[in-house]
Amino acid sequence: MSDRLRLVARRPLALVGIALVLAHLLMAITAPWWIPHDPTELVGPALEPPDETFVFGTDELGRDFLSRVAMGGRLAILVAFSAGLIAAIGGGLVGLAAAYWRGWFDDVVSRLVELKLAIPSILFVSLFVTGFGQSIGVLIAVIAVIKMMGAIRTSRAAGMQLMALGYVKAAQLRGERGPAIIVREMLPSVIDLLLVEFALRSSSALLLVSALSFLGLGLSPPTPDWGLMIHAGLSAIHSEPWLILIPAVCISTLVIGINFATEGIADAWGLDAARGGAHG
């Protein structure tokens, strides 16, 4: 195990990524204790440029922008990581089940995955949000479903290879039941892959949450959120560009951080799932 950590430590890219992610998590967790102002309260004149009282200036309503930026990742990160976790575990199990049972179940799952991949994510979400309402729970669920598709494919492919191996065959010959074989024999063998899936799906889920908030389909004002903040700052893009730049940098550094860390770790451990990285 220490060798595995040391292999990661030798990759500068992985270290940069891990540092970025840790910095973001630290900020998100500790923000309530050190932010100078309540992020939803009007504390000064609107669109104040940065100075000593308001380090990042104020936004279009006169709220402290530093406090809003510091708090602006918390919900998005919560949504993204929950969705990523559900996607990795759920997708992993469904994919393994498809590989195990094959037949009609596999056909149905595979066609559904293809169908989903053919529908733009934004459209998919807007259908859901109109149907079930715009709550955090709905958001997590719908993003988890979207991000699950990739995890299903990955684990199905890995599961197909496992099905040819002696220890799975031996369990079948013992007469063990499908769910037991999937959980006892197959799942532990793909746990590395699912870890990578979790990280990559979380980073792309973060992008999706921000995009949705930007479009008004995600989190709703007055919650401080980077996507919402970029949307609000659009009207002032020429006069006060930092209102867009700062939250945009926050989103990108976190996404890049996750991707670097994942790619570095997967590379160091010889996993193939990290190819391609997060997108959309």
């Binding site: 060798d3 040391r6 292999l7 030798r10 094959r102 037949g103 009609w104 596999d106 056909d107 191996l165 002696g166 220890y167 065959k169 031996a170 369990a171 079948q172 010959l173 013992r174 007469g175 063990e176 024999e185 532990p188 063998s189 746990i191 160091a268």
Partner: protein, 557 residues
Amino acid sequence: MAEGASGAPPLLRVEGLSIGYRDAMGRVAAAVRDLSFELAEGGSLGIVGESGSGKSTAARALLGHYRGAGERTGGRILIRGKVLDERDPGSLARLRGIDVAFVPQNPLSSLTYHLKVGAQLVEILRTRVGLDAGAARRRALELMARTRLPDPDALFERYPHQLSGGQRQRVVIACALACQPRLLVLDEPTTALDKSTEVQVLELVRELRRSLGVGLVLVTHDLNVVAQMCDEVLVMKDGARVEHGPTAATFAQPATAYTRELVASVLRLDAAAPADRAQHAQPPLVEAQGLGHVYRTGGWWRGRAADAAPALRGVDLMLRPGEVLGVIGESGSGKSTLGGALAGLLAPSEGRMRFQGEPLPGGAAARGREQRRRIQMVFQDPLSSLNPRQRVGTAIARPMQVFFGLGRRQAWDRAAALLDELGLDAAFLERYPRQLSGGQQQRVAIARALAAEPELIVCDEFTSALDATVQAQVIDRLLQVQARRALALVVITHDLGVVWRMAHRVLVLRDGLVHEQGLTAEVFANPASDYTRLLLSAATSASRQGQDSTLAQAANA
């Protein structure tokens, strides 16, 4: 050994060669240590050793090629008196193919799959020999005829996947000969081929060597191949030379214990085949009548794809308690399908099976718990037959928990006893499969099968992933257990040595049909068909050479 006294430099001279591989952490692991040998013009040297002995690494170095993170850490290689410098691309280009040519193991991956066979030969002849298009084509056809490819004009226009394995290897050899090299390096040239094809390809190489006078360095794990092909043999272990000398003498009287062990692990017909110990008085354990199987493709909504040729056709079989049945045949002969049907991996599409007088349904899911318990299986690849995330103890305990409802403590105690029976320490219970050697893994897999206290174990190529000396240990252990418990075994293998050592009776499969069957000693002594004779002849030359070196010399002349 070395005859370079005439003044002219020898064809090949290796002086104190050391090669190391650098891992991701920067540590260098030695793969070849201080290796020296010489080869005269037209000489032939076989390098044998088990996997990890460094034989392939050493052979590739003769072309200045180092795989991945490998590098030369000491010594030098001289080809016809000239030092080989792998860091100089120019001299490598003048060396490869022209002085030294290489024939790799897998002929399919060494040919470009989207180029016609003829075009690949022509390309070499045009770029390396400098022939024009017409001359290159004529020469390519000549080379194809030379390597005994049937109907060169037709094959010239084929793609690699349209050729058989043996034909592909002939094409690769033709490519290697294109620039008339002085030295041919063959790395396991027949390992991917069936026995009967192997005989023909080796015959070709022998004939080419005689007529062209090229030197030969042949890397293989198969002592029989060396016995047929090489005047000298170099035995390697852990990267170092164990023994080097004339083939016949070395095999007849090995100077080291390791070589003795290697030679002993090869099929020897002078040892007695296992006697027929079956308990004839008892009713049959397994009976099968008219077993047939077709692998079907296509799903419920795609419609049924065209059925492939049957893998198994009308196979009858009978096995008594305590009897060992060997099933042999080439790849595609249906032997694994037969094993899978008996073990319950697949439901045969035709035929009936009975076990202990009761009907035996196809497929484990359709069988009762007792039948599943009484029939166990040992798989080919020992590593993948054990779950990498489970400790050895967990793996062996599982069948006892499933079949006998034992608790974890009890099951682990009995697992320790099983390991002991197979010559492994109880400390192995706590280890993970990756921490075990191949032979240890396979013994654990056998222990897992025994945990169910079966009456029959189906062993599918259970030794083919193991090195020769390890094979012998695993087979011995299994035979002891078999005798002690009066187990019935079905041993599926392409290795006739395994059948000779283990099986009371043998069943020869070909194209899914039973080709021949009988007592092992009788079938081996008097094969009733040419096919069986061919299978046997490919497997027995090393032992013949060990017994009678004059015969071996005659074969080499």
